[in-house]
Amino acid sequence: METTLDLSTLNLAVVLPELTLIVFAILVMAADVFATPKNPAPRQWTPWIALAGVVAAAIVNLSVSGREVTLFQGAAILDKFAVGLNYIILLATGLGILLSVKYIPRINKQVGEYYALTLLTATGMMMMGAALDLITLFLALEIFSLALYILSGLNRTSPRSTEAAIKYFLLGAFSSAFFAYGGALIYAGTGTTQYYGIAQVTAAGLANTPLLYAGIALLVAGFGFKVSLVPFHSWTPDVYQGAPTPVTAFMSVGTKAAAFAAFFRVMLVALPFSYGAWSMPLALLAVITMAVGNFAALQQRSLKRMLAYSSIAHAGYILTALAGGAAEGADAALFYLFTYAFMNIGAFAVVMALEEMGAEDAMQDRAKGLGKTHPIMAFLMAIFMFGLSGMPPLAGFYGKVLLFEAAVAGGMIWLAIAAVAFTAVGAVYYLRVIANMYFADPVDESADEVNRSLPLDVGLAIAVAGTILVGVFPGFWMNAFQQSMALFGG
């Protein structure tokens, strides 16, 4: 048995955006080395180097996006779907960096490593969408998860941040174990870890079905942890609340986008022929997730916890499209996650501005009277809240329409009905924030200072512009994400 390296399949274009980010991550670390107590300037450049890396990766992404579907030796793929995911991840990373510029130095001086890790996280997330082999997928997952465990514990003086990191790490390690076990069982059931190979074997009916199904179940549990589906969600509120807010903002979108992208690709590319086995369990998971997420969010007093439960609910919405099993579901999820990046990071940015110096959390009370004291912040928050609740003509609306359309297209009409009903429940807690801001009087006049800075303002401007413009002219982006996934045999 002789294995030779076939250079023609060594298609670097597939991982070019990721490589760009890695290069810039190294640049960030290199710049950090030159910072001394006397001359801290290079350290202050690191966010801008990281941002330049994000922009450069986006440009590279644009330049590779025209190509046809290309494979990297069956381990990774570059299709519209991967390119689309890259944009979402880069958007979230860019916004996350903008949010971090003023915030991170307050809690941890080692900003160089912070930005390097952020870029490496993004690299791992992007690989999730490109992975076409369970091994690649697992490694990508580990890369970004490991980085996020560390980032969420960045504030070492805060017990809550440390607790978040430990909790995230333990449960994350647990989910990785599920993931690896699931992948191993699928390998045992089909004899391959490559998506196309798995599809081939299952299509031909050669798979060892009990092993395959057990593998799928464990894999779903692993993904469930990452995208926080109920009952694998218990870490979400604590980590979202405890982690530094810019990290929360970044990971709430990035993790979800990356894990869902991989989830869709595994299910639709590798396991479409087992659809009968996984569609109904996923539909039920979606219903439970939407129910728990929405109803728990109703009861939260902390804005960050409210957003955490809302993100669980949103995971449920996205899952409806996957349970439908139609290829449009992947496009819908991408578009939705794209809009979600603007709205959710925007909301976290406002929450961050509301956090008092030193305090780590903003309560609902903090929003009271904001419409009077800080009309612009209140307006922005209102836009994000309406957007998240799916109010047209903001971006979130079309995302939801596409998701539920995909569920209907997959024949899951009852699921779409349930999802729509939960959307109405969800509106209650988003509206409560708006009601607090506009209908109530400020609780504490003295604490109405808002932490703003130029980078944060830029981030907020991008987020609000995206929420509104993608909402009014969604066509371009829908096109960009249409028929995105290179399906098996398609």
Partner: protein, 175 residues
């Protein structure tokens, strides 16, 4: 009763060794998880890893087995042990490994075990396995695969290490 029939009643030597290793793994991993002293936990972990290496050897995956011993026992477990021994409180302290959720955890893992058991009995295990090439060719093959089919995962591993290093720096360095 003929000899082969009679011998079928008795476990083969391989089966005996497997059961021994399995028992070792089960018992020591319980120690690793539940012993009240952290040092005992660590020792349990070492033994568990050793047992898993044994299973690898039985599967004729010598390379993986050796790596397991070298990396996990030789490096990681040693590191853990050192870290514990250097910290008095950890070395001699006694903390319960149980909390209020012990019962729920036991029930859930018990259920999980039952489910796995069900799968084990349901799976039509193949009787014939593929031929395994001799050790040296296997390792050569493995090496070749790392730079061909699995080049990307191999490089990703490097990236993972980079992340771990950077993260360790971020966590451990003085503020």
């Amino acid at each position: 009763m003929s000899l082969p029939e009679m011998s079928a009643l008795f476990p083969t030597l391989q089966e005996v060794i497997f059961v021994l290793f399995a028992l070792l793994i089960a018992v020591t991993s319980l120690i690793a998880a539940m012993a009240p002293n952290l040092f005992h936990n660590a020792l349990g972990l070492v033994a568990t890893l050793f047992g898993i290496a044994g299973i690898y050897f039985m599967l004729e995956a010598e390379f993986v087995g050796v790596s397991q011993i070298l990396v996990y026992i030789g490096a990681i477990a040693t590191l853990i042990t050192f870290a514990i021994m250097l910290t008095r409180g950890m070395m001699f302290g006694r903390t319960s490994a149980m909390n209020r959720q012990g019962l729920a955890g036991a029930i859930i893992s018990g259920l999980f075990f039952v489910v796995l058991l069900g799968i084990v009995f349901q799976v039509p295990w193949p009787n014939v396995v593929a031929d395994i090439t001799d050790g040296e060719a296997l390792i050569a093959n493995l090496g070749a695969l790392f730079v061909s089919t699995y080049l990307l995962p191999f490089e990703l591993l490097a990236l993972l290490l980079l992340v771990a290093l950077t993260g360790a720096l971020l966590l451990a360095r003085d503020r």
